[in-house]
Amino acid sequence: MDYSHTLPNFVKVKRKISPAGVTLKTAAIIGLALLCVLFLFPVVWMVVSSFKTQDQIYTQLSSWRTFLPATWDVSKWFVSYKNLFNAFDYFGRSIINSAIYCTVTIVGVLLLNSFAGYALARLEFPGSKTIGTIVLLLIIVPVETSIVPMYVILKKLGLLEQSVRVVGYLLPGFVSAFYIFMFRQFFVGMPRELEEAARIDGSSRISTYFKIIMPLSKAIFATVAIFTFMGAWNEYVFAQLMFSKQSEMPLQVFLQLVNSFNPKDLSMVMAALTFSTIPIAIVYIFCQRYIIEGVSFSGLK
């Protein structure tokens, strides 16, 4: 009756898995679904609550309706968002601030680190080896670079003065050993022939860089831009130290004002939290490819 020993091995293996595999898979799906609820419910609640009034949030708190909008009349969903702009004169301003800080940081990071990465990958000059080693060391050694010495430096440079504080906030974010290393690795992996062909045709190093290298490196530029954007948009600790004036605060710091506002309006808080998450969510949804690329890059080393 048992034919298994006459069958080739792979058939036996297939048969063996099926009964146990089915129960295992069902268990896995049920477990996953439960975990899913655990991971999703706070986010769902945050978004849904931003569509309600504070009273609706509290009266529905103990029922499952807390996870559904109070009304399906979409025009009434955004009341607390409107209130947010009315209650806080600088809420809109903080969004603009965040956008400006992010844009400047991305441009600075892309230019500075890609230049440095290219120099380390392709050009030899006195000190290039040393700089390369320092960059690597900075990545490997986990220095507790607390904000304190940075604050001291900014103070000594006079960058804590109210009029130039923004500069003091943005400049330190421009260089990153990790991004220099990322660019370097990418450029090292590019075939040399491409630029050599251009060079033989009489193109200078610099124009080769802008005309040949940069257009061929869109992937790495996009990846670094996305990660920089997320870091800059989400920055909290340094930003709350630097900006005490409402008109200069980025959105993440402004959340503190909304959350501690008296009398507290929970729906307004949730609206502010949701609002500040939207740009990041958009980036994740539309730039998945680059994010996964960046993630696997960081996973490789």
Binding site: N9, F10, K16, K25, A28, L32, L35, C36, F39, L40, P42, V43, W45, Y58, L61, S62, L112, N113, F115, A116, A119, L120, L123, E124, P126, S128, I131, I140, V141, P142, E144, T145, S146, I147, V148, P149, M150, Y151, V152, I153, K155, K156, L171, P172, F174, A177, I206, Y236, V237, L241, L255, Q256, N259, L273, T277, I280, A281, V295, S296, G299
Partner: protein, 306 residues
Amino acid sequence: MEKVKKPKSIYYKFLGKTYIKSDSIVGIAFILPAVVLGAIFVIAPMVISLSYAFTDANLLRLDEVAWAGFGQFKRAFTDPYLWNAFKNTLEFVVKVVPLQLLAALGLALILNTKIKGNTFFRWAFFCPVMLSLAVTSFLWMNLLNPQEGLINAFLGAFGVSPQPFLESPKQAMNVIVFVSAWQGAGYQMLIFLSGLKNIPPELYEAAGVDGAGSATKFFRITLPSILPTFSFVLVTMLIGAFRLMTQPMIMTDGGPVDSTMTMSFYIYRQGIKYRDVAYSSAIALIYTVFMSVIALTLRKVTDVKD
């Protein structure tokens, strides 16, 4: 050919090494901005931190700094609040790293199979990663509000009495552990997934033909293949956990009764709030040495394969 190679003018010697002139000019021009900013905002803070550790520097009078020898270090080793912050950080690390690592790895292993709803699950677990640390902290603060939070309302439906959560010295750190793992696990799951994807399917097929069971496949193929990824994730997660600061800063301000005061937060507070730059630098220096030793040993231990 001769024209390009012969004229010596395009080469020059510096400290016994030959370089190409134009390459050097472009190279230095390209790297200069990064070097200048890096020197000011990366290297100089380290130097300042290192040298201030041996002084009595105060944020308010940075012009009159006097040497204090090892005074700050002696103070550090007898400071009960620092010891408390260290223990809290250690508690956080010991709890969050296994929790988050196993969650991320487990989810990745399950989602790496052809399970139904794979894409949806992937997005669901990744969803909290989209929230910033600040948003995560503010959100959970409200969810965990002892009087009118959703979690206590939920527990109440099962007859559980309201919990104090962040207002209790016993629960606060555990809450921060949970919230941090909740927010971060999806990201490491993605890293593991990309590691698992890189395992060539032929390996499994070959093993299957040789009659290997799924357990054998898992321990002989899957685990060894993702070991480098695992070690990378472990080290970065560990260092990240040792630097915990934003969550307690927002959710508890280090309290209640200093139960969520962490090393990074303590270093920050000493330097900024109490303006004691010297003491802050001394602690940062000790802590850097501590973290480097751990990170480098772990790298060595887990990188045997390379």
